[in-house]
Amino acid sequence: MELFVNQILAGIATGAIYACMALAVVMIYQAIDHLNFAQGEMAMFSTFVSWQLMQWGVPYWGAFLLTLILSFIGGILIERLLFKPLAKAPILTHVAGFIALYAIINSVAGLIWDFTIKQYPTPFGSAPFLGSQLISTHQAGMIGVTVLLLIALYVFFQYTRFGLAMRAAASVPESARLVGVNTSWMIALGWGMAAAIGSIAGMLIAPVVFLEPNMMGGVLIYGFAAAVLGGLTSPFGAVVGGFLVGIFENLAGTYIPGVGNELKLPIALALIITVLVVKPAGLFGRPIVKRV
């Protein structure tokens, strides 16, 4: 029983990592209607930038804020320079573009900062949380920030004009343009916000997994999986999805005999696919209605 509880708690802790990333994934999906493979690398790069700022003496929160702003601008720049010219190209070409971006960012990060791991500070400390040795204060802090971010995003999309405009631009661009929404800039804004959220995810994840150019590779897959499980249209779903994936993965690894440990990721992914077959829009996603 104790092991069960422990694994759930540990699952929540790792799930927080996935939930963070999943939020960024949902953000970009809201803006451009597809998944960006380079999301993880952009987050990693932002985290390195913040690390570099701290190396140069900038205090933690200063670096954090500065990185947020730089990432936001960076996201917009990438969209304007690299993806706007592709606006008329087929979707598959866009995906190729994401892959190219992934390769470029990963390679440049490796060149600038090399591949040895770096310690990354946390503002929350590493003491056991509430005496529990399974969740550290940092991980609790991570969960807290994720929830805050989630609330902020929800408010943004539901109750602000920008949020509404962005949703309109992504789902029904023709109609949105007719009512005066600048769809092109909405996409750029979406990229900027996704980059900013991604950078927060990176800065929260790095203290746990250690900072290095390949740190986000595994996380991104989980982020996608969590986002899809929770429903790509729902930030709330993304966060819940993240925790569910973390917990389920741990339980599968502990209780499925023999292969459970070695097939953790495939089992988690199989679960998600099963859910999708039953509920194609994810657990909390809005069902898609196809008008013929």
């Binding site: 999906y29 809201q30 209607d33 597809h34 998944l35 690299l82 010219p85 592709l86 008329k88 190209a89 087929p90 979707i91 598959l92 070409t93 995906v95 190729a96 573009g97 892959i99 190219a100 971006l101 992934y102 390769a103 470029i104 990963n106 390679s107 440049v108 490796g110 060149l111 949703r167 992504a170 789902s171 029904v172 897959i221 996608f224 999986a225 899809v228 790509l232 249209t233 023999g258 292969v259 070695e262 097939l263 990721l265 495939p266 992914l269 199989a270 998600i272 696919i273 099963t274 999708l276 077959v277 194609p280 809005r286 069902p287 898609i288 209605v289 196809k290 008008r291 013929v292």
Partner: protein, 347 residues
């Protein structure tokens, strides 16, 4: 988010390639064929090996073209089928002593079944969800191959070494009349070429046939196709099956050419590379498969030559340049060339 999808007026996710433009003209085809047949006589064994791999990956990209370009289903998981084909060939050759040529149909059939079965749950998924499901399959495959249960056959993490076949006795003796010898590499190349041509012709005919039309109807507008009586479920899974089968054969050939299989040979990187090959070659344009294959084999080498530390970045930049200049891939280049030649002829 997208609560309402305009299925009729929205642009199709994958654009249609006009049937006439699906293949090269007869003249060009014959020219390319002649080049492919003559090339090994003039180059070193290593280049022949690279060309064999070119054909092998070309086959895999071709399979993906049938699946995505033909029936409109995204797949980022072809590496899983490639792996199954490769391991089938390797296991049959090394553990059961089966002749290499016979392992290929077996690999093809097993992968067809595998693809067909995978196509079933995939029926309910589309677009990004299908991409994720296939991505999951590709990620799971190396793990499955490493499993302790199968270690006795698969060699586990260490993999299996595969013996390369010699040219058959008949061919050797005929050549010896002319005082020529055929190296293992050259024989394997011609063997692969023969299979590639056969599969290419099969694929072209498949796409021009009723099944092919069914695929394309599904790709362009699934609901309309279903309304017109196309058995969507059957054709979608069939497309997956055929695509997987061809990829499996490619995998088997690849295993023989490289002489080694290991879980690390078949990671998600391979699936992504095949996907890129399809995009660069031109989605749905079968001859483009070879261009795409050339891209994924040679451009990383070029990138490495330019800068060792930034080889990934150089590759990314080249890829961006390609998709900026020709967003529709090599097919666009061919169309432009055709147009220019047409104009030239008019004068």
């Amino acid at each position: 988010m997208s609560a309402v999808q305009e299925a009729v007026t929205a642009a199709p996710a994958i654009e249609a390639v006009p049937k006439r433009a699906m293949t090269l003209g007869t003249g060009t085809s014959l020219l390319v064929l002649a080049l492919l047949i003559a090339m090994p006589l003039f180059v070193k064994n290593f280049i022949i090996f690279q060309m064999t791999m070119l054909l092998v990956y070309g086959l895999a990209v071709l399979a993906l073209n049938i699946l995505t370009g033909g029936s409109g289903q995204f797949s980022l998981g072809q590496s899983a089928f490639y792996a199954v084909g490769a391991y089938t060939s390797a296991i049959l050759m090394e553990h059961a002593g089966v002749n290499y040529a016979l392992t290929l149909p077996v690999a093809g059939v097993i992968c067809f079944a595998f693809g067909f079965l995978f196509g079933q749950p995939a029926l309910r998924l589309s677009g990004v969800y299908l991409a994720l499901a296939t991505f999951a399959l590709a990620t799971a495959m190396p793990q499955l191959l490493k499993l302790g249960y199968f270690e006795h056959w698969t060699g586990g993490v260490q993999g299996l070494v595969v013996t390369k076949p010699d040219a058959p006795e008949v061919v050797q003796s005929v050549l010896s009349w002319f005082h020529l010898k055929m190296s293992q590499d050259m024989w394997l190349y011609y063997f692969t070429l023969a299979i590639t041509i056969a599969i290419y012709i099969f694929s072209v005919n498949l796409l021009k046939s009723r099944s092919g039309r069914a695929f394309m109807a599904i790709r362009d507008n699934e609901i309309a196709a279903s309304a017109m009586g196309v058995d969507v479920a059957l054709y979608k899974t069939l497309a997956f099956g055929v695509s997987a089968g061809i990829t499996g054969v490619a995998g088997g050939l690849g295993a023989i050419a490289v002489q080694f299989v290991a879980p690390d040979s078949f990671t998600i990187q391979l699936a992504i590379a095949l996907f890129l090959g399809m995009v660069v070659g031109g989605v749905g344009w079968l001859p483009g498969s070879i261009v795409g294959s050339a891209f994924i084999i040679f451009v990383p080498n070029i990138a490495e030559g330019i800068s060792k530390g930034l080889s990934g970045a150089v590759f990314g930049v080249i890829l961006f340049l390609v998709i900026f200049l020709v967003p529709h891939g090599a097919r666009q280049v061919a169309l432009v060339a055709q147009h220019l030649i047409g104009q030239f002829k008019k004068r």
